[in-house]
């Protein structure tokens, strides 16, 4: 039986909900507003909320004097490349673990996840040295491989969870129909797992897009993504808050749009298995 909820209670929780939402959203809103202020107004005390001289000067500066497109393109290459590479490795791996598990499969999954529990800074020095030896510093391929490896455990886990939900009978039917393992993955498993793969891709793109630790440490100019672009406004000469905010707004814009259109998939992906 459905529980009865009084209108007053509904109103109360609606207000609480909106308030919590606003608190979470406020920094982003503040960043967006600051991007349209002058550097001086960005610092003003008391802070100006809406009533200031709106200006697009910051955007003009960062778009014309600083090469936003270069960084944005690098972000696309890195996020896209590392996601694609992760998928190529993760789909067969998750397939193997979901459909031909061994006694060690569970341990292996736990071990992979445990690598995410270690702080990245713990391996910064060895990674940096490896990057020097392999001449991978400030290269696309270097950061793509690195981010791919960093997110691979999550990608494999997510795909594994999705594949687990696919009835084994259907894959066995494909095998009886003469499909090789590879054809089974391409013609049967992948099309059935499309929703799962889509949300995995979306999540991984967002993770790679926002990844700041490794991108700041192993890229400088050639392969520097938007994280570097934002950081460059926090210079020894001082923090350029207005430009920093404008740059941040531009940096998150593509991912916000992608996330907005993919939010249904994303929520399903993150809560998959929790609710039917």
């Amino acid at each position: 039986m459905a529980r009865k909820i009084s209108p007053a209670k509904t109103a109360f929780w609606t207000v609480i909900g909106w308030a919590a939402g606003f608190v979470v959203f406020f920094p982003i809103l503040w960043m967006f507003l600051t991007g349209f202020k002058t550097e001086l107004e960005a610092y003003s005390t008391p802070p100006k909320f809406l009533f200031f001289e709106w200006t697009t000067e910051n955007y003009q500066t960062i778009l014309h004097q600083r090469d936003y497109l270069h960084y944005a393109l690098n972000s696309v290459i890195i996020a896209g490349g590392s996601t694609l590479l992760a998928l190529i490795i993760a789909v067969p791996s998750a397939w193997g673990m979901a459909f031909s598990p061994t006694r060690r499969t569970k341990d292996l999954l736990m071990w992979m996840l445990s690598t995410k529990m270690m702080p990245a800074v713990g391996v910064l020095v060895p990674m940096y040295l490896i990057f020097i030896w392999l001449h991978l510093l400030d290269t696309h391929i270097g950061i793509i491989v690195l981010l791919c490896l960093a997110n691979l455990p999550i990608v494999i886990w997510m795909l594994f969870t999705y594949f687990k939900e696919i009835p084994k009978d259907i894959l066995e039917a494909a095998r009886m129909d003469g499909a090789t393992t590879w054809k089974e993955i391409v013609f049967v498993l992948t099309p059935m797992a499309i929703p799962g793969i889509a949300s995995t891709v979306l999540l991984n793109v967002i993770l790679a897009w926002n990844e700041a630790f490794w991108t700041l440490n192993v890229t400088t100019i050639d392969s520097a993504p938007l994280t570097q672009f934002i950081a460059s406004f926090s210079a020894p000469q001082g923090n350029f808050w207005a430009k920093l905010s404008a740059a941040s707004t531009l940096a998150i814009a593509p991912i916000v749009i992608l996330g907005w259109f993919g939010q249904k998939q994303l929520v399903r992906g993150l809560t998959f298995g929790a609710v039917k």
């Binding site: 039917a173 129909d177 003469g178 099309p191």
Partner: protein
């Protein structure tokens, strides 16, 4: 052609011996049913033949070729699953044609064969639909279409009717039997439903705890069960068993008598009992009678037999239908 021979086939899962040295010959063109209680290994045995499970030991020969090391695709068999296992993202046409596509058959030839199979199964109007838009019976027919279109050496059916409702099950049972006869393709059919086994099979293989208990035609099993297990499993309602003095008097350690082989009388007979429950089905009456020294006995009377609960009744087993078993449970 599709003669399947099993020689000492074994399967263990960890420490559990699921299949214990099965020897069996399935003749070309015959309809063989594996029947047994849940967990007896009948589905596992079918999956071993299909190649979906690897045997721990023994040999499986198809047309004289040992296929024990071959993957399912190379064995030339096709399978109908209990869950239908259709490809949900493909149309009925592509579902049926998938095997041909994997075999590299060109599109025109594929379409011709799919159309042929669809016509045979009354699926023509549904060819462009996806499985989600079909009823249970239609899905089952698609699964069968997928199996027949490749002209396999044998069909393997894994409890294909257990997801259907009772009326549809009877229809599909007839349809499968008719189809198998007209195609003259070997079929191995797994079920726990002994009515399906009795009605469809040329030969029934009764399995219990991973071992073959008896192989024979439905009537052979009904009339001459080899042991207590088969006697108890085949036939509905179950055979009645008696031990002790009553059995000794009739020449066995245990004796068995089917419900339909007991004469009922209100005046006299061999065993005296009290009616506990009476089920009136119209065509038959099943009486559950408590008899001293035996326990509960099921008797089947043809037509209406006007007895009430608590009435006294006498039962007399027909002598020619008494089954006698020794101390090990083997038929004498």
């Amino acid at each position: 052609m599709g003669k399947i021979e099993l020689k000492g086939v074994e399967k263990t899962f960890g420490n559990v011996h699921v299949i214990q040295g099965v020897d069996l010959v399935v003749e070309d063109g015959s309809f063989v049913v594996f029947v047994g209680p849940s967990g007896c290994g009948k589905s596992t045995l079918l999956r071993l033949i299909a190649g979906l499970e690897d045997a721990t030991g023994g040999h499986i020969m198809i047309d004289g070729v040992d296929v024990i090391d071959q993957p399912p695709a190379k064995r030339g068999l096709s399978m109908v699953f209990q869950s239908y296992a259709l490809y949900p993202h493909m149309t009925v046409r592509n579902n049926i044609g998938f095997g041909l596509r994997m075999a590299g058959v060109d599109k025109a030839e594929r379409d011709r064969k799919v159309d042929e199979a669809a016509a045979l199964l009354n699926l023509t109007p549904y060819l462009e639909r996806r499985p989600g838009a079909l009823s249970g019976g239609q899905r089952q027919r698609v699964a069968i279409g997928r199996a027949i279109v490749r002209q396999p050496k044998a069909f393997l059916f894994d409890e294909p009717l257990s997801n259907l409702d009772a009326a549809l099950r009877v229809n599909m049972r007839l349809e499968i039997a008719r189809l198998q006869k007209s195609l003259a393709t070997t079929a191995i059919y797994v079920t726990h439903d002994q009515v399906e086994a009795m009605t469809m099979a040329d030969k029934i293989v009764v399995l219990s705890a991973g071992k073959v208990e008896q192989v024979g035609s439905p009537l052979e099993l009904y009339e001459h069960p080899d042991n207590l297990f088969v006697a108890g499993f085949i036939g509905s309602p179950k055979m009645n068993f008696a031990t002790g003095d009553i059995a000794k008097k009739l020449g066995g350690v245990t004796i068995g008598i089917r419900p339909e082989h007991l004469d009922l009388s209100r005046e006299r007979g061999a065993w005296e009992g009290i009616v506990e429950v009476a089920e009136h089905l119209g065509s038959d009456t099943f009486l559950y009678i408590t008899v001293e020294g035996i326990g509960r006995v099921t008797a089947r009377a043809t037509g209406e037999f006007a007895l009430k609960v608590g009435d006294r009744v006498w039962l007399t087993p027909k002598p020619e239908h008494i089954h006698r078993f020794d101390a090990e449970g083997r038929a004498i």
